[in-house]
Symmetry: C2
């Protein structure tokens, strides 16, 4: 049976990043930049005051100086400091020519002279100041031509700020993948209905849509497909319009597990079925290659058939679907990243498959610790509510002692 790492590799191998598009910067939070952005200007674009105060020339400083003019932010000085004088200046305003320091207003007092002109008295020991005090020079933060944000970077608030500063109202990035979620099974009823005998509510659709959103993609909820070929096929066809179709249920060995055969009938080529993992053994993955149309550049839909038990669905999403979504979005590191953590208590595993056990990771100055939470199996969602991660225990019957190091994948 396929290993988890081989299954992830097969998913990534079948997945290509979406075609970059120019999008309004304001809509790109959490997306990945698809171009290198170099600065097209010096930043700051001019010598600038860092404080509200008085611009002076240190070489001609006196403890009392007349004020030539006032420069607010957004204004341009009309005078220069070529005489015994100072210029009042506001934070962020452009420094006058000849000035080489700014004295904060708190270190001064002001009065009017006989002609009604403002005169400033400096209370600080300004004469000993170094050139450049309270000034940021043109280009000190960034020089024209320097690399600001590299292609492949996630666009966080600070990248948006830096790109806005440089006037990139649009940037080349990859849009959020559209991901259809379809729950299958005659036992399912909508969450606002009361299940009859033998029935349960469709909790997977809502959970998977939340996972899709958390991964940075746009979910398209498709409701419940009955275990009936015509109906299932119609819902599958709808889902195949998306970049990714995630189904839950219908991939086991049962008589009504119609998902693999109906996907095949819809032209989806199976890449794998069954992975050596607990929970999630029946996981199915395939691809549909489509001819590009005038309206769409999408040429391939990725299709995941996840097992129907909720913890299986959730774990398989994190292991297989999320990496695919990150790869579509252009993230360099698409795979789940295991963290090494110390067990807070001994843990005994049994079984012939590697187990991803709901766990609680905590961050400490001397390294993370992890606790496996009580868990009765793949239908036990409450265990995942107590968890914030999954700990990997390899196949085989074994007891892991307290302080053993295990791999953990944070959710």
């Amino acid at each position: 049976m396929l290993s988890v790492s081989d299954a992830i590799a097969a998913v990534l191998n079948a997945t290509s990043p979406l075609v970059p598009e120019s999008l309004p910067l304001a809509e790109t939070l959490g997306l990945v930049l698809a171009e290198d952005i170099h600065s097209n200007t010096d930043l700051p674009p001019f010598d600038k005051s860092l404080v509200d105060g008085f611009a002076i020339r240190l070489s001609s400083f006196q403890s009392e100086l007349p004020v030539l003019e006032i420069v607010s932010a957004g204004q341009v000085p009309t005078r220069q400091l070529d005489q015994l004088a100072c210029i009042q200046i506001m934070t962020g305003a452009q420094l006058p020519i000849g000035a080489d320091a700014v004295v904060p207003i708190e270190h001064t007092s002001q009065r009017s002279d006989a002609n009604g002109k403002m005169v400033v008295t400096f209370s600080s020991n300004v004469a000993t100041w170094r050139s450049g005090t309270n000034i940021i020079r043109r280009g000190a933060a960034l020089k024209c031509g320097e690399l600001v944000v590299i292609s492949g970077s996630e666009l966080r608030p600070q990248e948006l700020g830096a790109l806005a500063e440089l006037g990139h109202a649009n940037v080349l990035t990859r849009r959020r993948p559209r991901v259809a979620a379809l729950a299958t099974g005659d036992e399912l009823v909508p969450i606002d209905q009361t299940p009859g005998p033998g029935q349960i509510r469709n909790s997977n659709e809502l959970m998977l849509c939340a996972q899709i959103r958390r991964a940075g993609a746009d979910p398209i909820p498709l409701g419940i497909a009955r275990d009936e070929r015509v109906h299932l096929r119609e819902r599958i066809e709808a889902g195949l319009q998306a970049d990714v179709l995630v189904l839950s249920g219908g991939v086991s060995m049962g008589e009504k597990d119609l998902v693999p055969s109906e996907l095949a009938a819809a032209g989806v080529r199976q890449v794998f079925h069954k992975v050596n993992v607990k929970p999630g053994k029946p996981a199915w993955f395939g691809v549909l290659d489509k001819s590009p149309t005038a309206n769409s550049q999408v040429s391939r839909t990725l299709v995941f058939g996840l097992p129907g038990n909720p913890v299986s669905s959730m774990v398989c999403f994190e292991l297989f679907v999320r990496p695919a979504l990150r790869h579509l979005m252009g993230y360099a590191a698409a795979e789940p990243t295991p963290i090494k953590a110390r067990l807070t208590q001994a843990h005994t595993t049994k079984g012939d498959r590697p187990t991803y056990h709901p766990a609680h990771i905590e961050w400490h100055p001397n390294g993370p610790t992890v606790t496996a939470v009580p868990w009765v199996g793949s239908s036990d969602l409450r265990a995942t509510v107590a968890a914030n991660s999954m700990a990997l225990f390899p196949a085989g019957d074994q007891t892991y002692e307290t302080s053993s190091i295990v791999d953990v994948i944070a959710w």
Copy 2:
């Protein structure tokens, strides 16, 4: 001057969680539950097969048995195992009365007998199996009345799944705060325009809106307010309709720093102005108490005047605004949580204020490390692009040696 911790305490003290509302579960991802949810049912609601196979009664097991009926998921068994027979059953289906184990279909072979009835031969050593093999009993995952999700929990995909399973199509939670963002300053031009002499682009609005969204709130961008009383007042009045108004710029000591006086004129009561922090000293915070109207339960708008330099704005948002938003949303832990991390290289600080320095934190099995990134000051957004956190260096001139432990706040 107010310390950062006193300023955060003042913000939280002036902030009350929003009034809980019943919201559709599908819209609550990332919100905080405002009620305890107990299970209203046993989960699973019936004894259930974990595999596709044949339900048997171990006490009357034989290596070959006739099949009484087939039970799919969603169906209810009509027969019970009170004779030498088995019942075919699908994953997730309800177990027939009398059955105490399910043999996976892979461990069987099937044939038709002389009457055309199905007979199963079991290849495994089933007789030695324990009762309950491949079965999950009613209530094993959750018993009726048990606490499932506690009030104050963040609603993640797994909580949504667990609540959906129990039929909570609506839950009591607190909506996303609406947060208006207003950049002020005559030096600002929109990001798609070319700044003239002395001007810069309005990068803060977009960055703050992204920070607001990352904090789980809904941003309302209000554009640029000029340093002119009538115009500024009109924009402030618009912003005061929101739960929170975040301004940037106009809070320093300059002649055109009209924000505090115009906020006062609009009825906003100042709580603090100036915090002992670098960057961000001019930070301003106040509140406006409003009479509730028929359309709104909001009775208080929180108002933050952040310094205009982009790194000051960003840092002050994380220190002061984000905790307020989390408190509004009902998070128990609203304050920034410092992480202890080891410096990867020596770092020298100067100055009379505690400094939050853009930094890069890395997670290692033996604990996090942190590197202060090169940073020329509060207008240097590129430093934040290289960073994923801020490291706190207390006031005073000091060199911190490699491996010193410092507090770090992750972004």
